[in-house]
């Protein structure tokens, strides 16, 4: 299936969840927050969240800023 992650197209196996996506993208699983189709996923549900084709994700972290 095809996802849009941080503006880029990402191909991943059908039925994958967030845990698998973060593995594939080599993104740390802590100190991140994820918005799925405009709605923030609560941390407690993050890794188990099952994704579907055409999902749009924003994965963010904190960086230096003023």
């Amino acid at each position: 299936m095809l996802l849009k992650v941080n503006g880029d197209s990402v191909e991943i196996d059908d039925g994958s969840n967030m845990d698998q996506l973060l593995d594939v993208l080599e993104i740390p699983k802590t100190k991140v927050a994820v918005e799925l189709n405009g709605v923030v996923i609560p941390n407690s549900e993050l890794l188990g969240k099952v994704l579907k084709d055409q999902d749009i994700l924003e994965i963010v972290r904190a960086i230096g800023g003023g």
């Binding site: 080599e26 100190k31 923030v40 972290r61 904190a62 960086i63 230096g64 800023g65 003023g66």
Partner: protein
């Protein structure tokens, strides 16, 4: 003497709030923040780089939320909608922390706040349970309006973000202060220690700065200078300055002079 800054029910010893952007590396950031004595530290929220080294250090690894109040900002947002989405992500990222620095920008050249969008975002965020510290123009009426919407701190700019031009309109800051019932924090535009002192002497509750420290030749030394400037400006404000006079007034007795 206890002279604490209270924001959203939490108290702080330091009235200097610092940003974490524009530093050479994390070590320089860490040393500067330590020297500043700041307890409230801003961070930005950005997309994770896909394929980054997952062992790469994260700014939250050394800015522990146990030690600092982490204040996520919405810098780079140009609409209320973008700012609100960023705040919601930040709240999840920081495990339910509701305190945010709302900043909705108008254009890239001035980085002046887009006040209609700022007001809109402030209203929605407060309703959603956020504690909003808001970057705004130095318009006294809009500052009061933001307070009325429930913002926990109103933060007018001294001059454009990153300009280092100091307080360009102290009279406006005074007008804002005269009506304020929440802490007024000068946010943006401070260039050097005397600028910070002036803000505090006017009666501001604190100063938020980033570039003035990060882009000094010796950031940690400037951080220390800013700490002292904030403290001395605050003390001068509390002490109450002498009245200004148009002409001289001798400090030594005028009687008993030898002839």
């Amino acid at each position: 003497m206890d002279d604490l800054l209270t924001i959203a029910g939490r108290t702080y010893n330091s009235r200097l709030l610092v940003g974490t952007g524009k530093y050479k590396d994390f070590e320089e950031t860490r040393l500067s923040i330590e020297a500043s004595g700041a307890e409230i530290v801003t961070v930005a929220i950005r997309r994770t780089n896909i394929g980054q080294d997952s062992s790469e250090p994260n700014i939250l690894d050394f800015l522990s939320p146990d030690k600092f109040t982490i204040l996520p900002n919405t810098a780079g947002c140009y609409t209320a909608e973008e700012a609100i989405r960023t705040c919601k992500l930040a709240r999840e990222l920081l495990e339910g922390n509701n305190l945010v620095k709302l900043e909705v920008l108008g254009d890239k050249e001035t980085l002046y706040p887009n006040m209609p969008e700022t007001l809109k975002a402030a209203k929605d965020l407060v309703q959603d349970g956020f504690e909003v510290m808001v970057y705004c123009s130095d318009d006294p009426l809009l500052a009061k309006e933001l307070e009325g919407l429930g913002c926990v701190s109103v933060m007018p700019l001294a001059s454009p973000i990153g300009s280092g031009l100091g307080i360009q309109n102290p009279h406006n800051i005074e007008m804002i202060l005269s009506k304020a019932e929440v802490p007024i924090i000068v946010d943006a535009g401070v260039g050097t220690a005397s600028d910070a002192s002036i803000a505090m002497e006017l009666g501001c509750a604190g100063v938020l700065m980033n570039t003035a420290i990060a882009k000094a030749q010796e950031p940690a030394l400037m951080a220390q200078a800013m700490k002292k400037a904030i403290e001395s400006g605050r003390q001068a404000y509390l002490a109450g300055r002498m009245e200004k006079k148009s002409y001289a007034s001798p400090s030594s007795p005028t009687k008993g002079l030898i002839k």
